[in-house]
Subunit: 197 residues, 2 copies
DNA sequence: GCTGTTGTGTAGCATTTGCTACAGATAGAA
DNA sequence: TTCTATCTGTAGCAAATGCTACACAACAGC
């Protein structure tokens, strides 16, 4: 079964039961939590070709969904019903591989994220986020509010850091987007003691 | 093959190639990274019956080990060589299940950790750590330095928070150990806006 | 007992981050 | 155009955390 979201949509909310395996074919899903103050913190993205590992988790362990998921605009998702997926997993080695690979990838992403939080301060994490998520032309279509959500901080802080980057000539900002100007310079912000493994 | 560590030992260091699947049968392993300042930050523990998922990851994806691992005193580990494990995974559904379960569990732990970092401040995380890791009698045999490592902070901060807890009559401290006195009170520190899911 | 090592308590300051508040800028709708 | 909603820039203060420095306490070995 395929679902298509034309605009940002809440796909799953915390506590909900999981209906099946989600396979993103287009666009992206965002997995996030809320802070007590109500601001969002992105845990990770699910991109085309990837599946929602948490949904798999919940399927295999009969758990309720532990976080929120929201779709980008223009996102398509294939949904494989839970029981079917479990049957497939038992006999299809391709499905097994896919499952394990997906889980592995996520584990690495989460550990990377954790390590970053422990070892980098916000400007490094922001720089890293910009570098990782900007298009080939260096453009990132995202408001500062959204950026703040991805980093688990607030808009003002992002604005402050952004101004710092602008002052150093590393990026340029405009309403709803950031452009990376000096990739190498930004990388130096992230890097001084190598916080990406 | 079984290995036994009678004293805290560096089992794997970052960048090392992985030789096989590690199955903890006794004691525990600690997976951690270093901050630029040289202090440690624990990512998670591997307890008896569990396997080192990162090692699995590395096996399946031919990666080098991304973090450090250290054993507790008195820890026993079964090591299944990589190629053998991969063969087993292909034909034994029990091994498949074990693998997926192990990965799933870790994903949840990491997400929990991430969520905690985003939503709780240090005193809540410390309180939570004490509650989760104290023995049935409420005793936790650990120096403040080690506690700091587990939370990714420094000894002084732990000492400060600890004093707060002592002042509130929640715990008592002595050299190399902490005793939880008022479990309910500590839980209230963690809880006010429910940061454990 | 003495001595060295390790762990703990405490203080003070620097830095980072969060929060409040408001002004100006930009884009879209009417 | 004007109005409105949203986004951004900025300032200033509060709180949390990190870092340095030192005194004292507990334990181990001699």
């Amino acid at each position: 079964m395929r679902k298509r979201f034309t605009r940002p949509t809440q796909v799953i909310h915390k506590g909900q039961a999981v209906s099946g395996a989600y396979l993103v074919t287009d666009g992206q899903l965002r997995v996030f939590t809320y802070t007590p103050q109500g601001s969002e913190a992105t845990l990770y993205f699910i991109r085309p070709g990837e599946t929602c590992v948490l949904a798999l988790n919940c399927l295999f362990n009969d758990l309720r969904y532990p976080v929120w998921i929201e779709s980008d605009a223009d996102t398509a998702v294939d949904i494989i019903p839970g029981p079917l997926y479990r049957r497939l997993f038992e006999c299809e080695s391709a499905v097994q591989d896919l499952t394990v690979k997906a889980l592995s990838t996520l584990v690495f992403r989460l550990m990377d994220e954790l390590e970053q939080i422990h070892t980098c301060n916000l400007d490094q994490r922001l720089a890293n986020f910009l570098l990782s998520n900007a298009s080939a032309q260096g453009v990132l279509q995202m408001t500062q509010q959204e950026l703040a959500g991805h980093l688990g901080t607030t808009r003002e802080v992002v604005a402050r850091l952004m101004q710092g980057f602008v002052a150093q000539g590393l990026v340029s900002t405009r309403r709803g987007a950031v452009t990376v100007v000096d990739t190498v310079g930004l990388a130096r912000v992230v890097n001084p003691s190598d916080c990406i493994f």
